[in-house]
Amino acid sequence: METTVGKARSSIFPLIFFLIFLGITALATVVAAADEAPKVDTGDTAWVLMASALVLLMTPALAFFYGGLVRRKNVLSVLMQCFLIMCLISIQWVLFGYTLSFGPDIGGWIGGLDWFGLKGVGLEPFAGYAGTIPHQAFMIFQMMFAIITPALIIGAFAERMKFAAFAVFALLWATLVYDPVCHWVWGIGGFMRNWGALDFAGGTVVHINAGMAALVAAIVLGKRIGYPDNVAPPHNLPFAVLGAGLLWFGWFGFNAGSALGAGSLATSAFVVTHIASAAAGLTWSLIEWMRHGRPTVLGIITGAVAGLVAITPASGFVTPVSAIWIGIGASVLCYLAAVILKAKLGYDDTLDAFGVHGVGGIWGAIATGLFATKTVNAAGADGLFYGNPAQLWIQVKVTLVTVVWAFVMSFVLLKIVNAIMGARASEHEERVGLDLTGHSESAYTVLD
């Protein structure tokens, strides 16, 4: 594979230069790694490839989770938006998304275009990110995150956004909002990474980012006709349950895959992910049971997802027992946001993308600063409860910056899209349904 190696080299040069600014030790490590020509580990690669497949599956899963909750006349529009993102963002990532996010750093803000079109992103490991799997394996794993993040936002504007406007917004958002934050937190040289921010699998990058965009979208697009009292209930709850089940399944790839190898760390992430989800699902049910005398299916699956969201940034740093607390906190806070707060403020976050991902993501980022411990991950840090308040402060800072960034940027982008092409479907389209008006299809036939 001569040429690939060649390619790889050529783009390692700028990297090496940059590394000098990172200090000799760092440099040493990497160079060393480079010298030893890091060997691909089959077990690690098997796991990261499988994890990538699992995370890819999360987008169709999300499509069903969301699609089951909308009205019969809009279910296809949701599935379509999710599928479009799977296609569109994948190409964006290959062409320039990956290099903007992980390419050679420019001042801590963004990756350079050196890896445009994956040039130089070869099949040899790139020690800077993952020393035991092919660089392309890391690239494709990260691609799946870039795909699902904008898809999460759909929950906020479901049932009323124009498809064309959505497509443009999604592409802009992925490029101008997601890629930068991704670089700040995970890219070599990213300033938040240098602050020592802990975000194992995307609490800030994925959930806070998407959650805030969701809140903005709900506000900018306004309420659906008839909201809150004349909007029909979920048209197919079993679909939502199917989606939730597949999300839970896929999330193992999301979090445990972020260990970028199959060892103790992946195992730990896998375990706490499951536990937090279970604790959160149980908590949400109990809250409903106490408040209404009956736990609901929608409640338990929403809780489980909230738990998965909250554990995401913490999943590589906390113990199983801490995971229970994180899960409980997730359901309590997300319930307050999705049920109490939303009703109070009156914005129409159709499927609680903000209530669950925004709030859950913020809680997760903070919780990481509370429960993180080096006993789980020596490469991590200790949190407040392990005697290190500094980490909590870092987490707070990172959260605030991301919240502000995502809010402002999403607002600006939506306003621009709206000005150019109109973001909201016409009243007629909304009444008839987006499936027929937007895609000339109906989800189900009435007669045989």
Binding site: R291, L298, V339
Partner: protein
């Protein structure tokens, strides 16, 4: 001839059909409907938000019969559908001007059976 429309509780369908059988009334058309009546059903709750307007699931029976069968039909339906609780439903009797059996093209009283 009469065209009888009955709205009953979904779980009573089998009972009513059986009763009709007993009275030799074999021909029935059944469909699913939603009903708003006296009965206040269990409110549905999503994200802790109570859904307004309780349209409850009901089943609609349509039976075309000759005059002499009307009483028997009503009798059969009521006996099969009655639980004594609110929501049991209603029977509506309309005049039926003409009936045509598609198959051989018979019409009137003979076609109805």
């Amino acid at each position: 001839m009469k065209y009888i429309i009955a709205i009953i509780q979904p779980d009573r369908v089998q009972d009513v059909l059986a009763k009709l059988e007993e009275k030799e009334i074999h021909l029935v058309t059944v469909s699913q409907v939603l009903g708003r009546g006296r009965q206040k059903g269990i409110a549905e709750v999503y994200r802790s938000h109570k859904e307004p307007g309780n349209l409850l699931k009901k089943v609609k029976l349509e039976i075309a019969v000759n005059q002499e069968f009307v009483a028997a039909t009503i009798e059969a339906i009521t006996s099969g559908a009655r639980s004594g609780q609110i929501g049991d439903g209603k029977i509506f009797v309309l005049d039926l001007a003409e009936v045509v059996r598609i198959r051989p093209g018979e019409t009137g009283g003979v076609a109805i059976g």
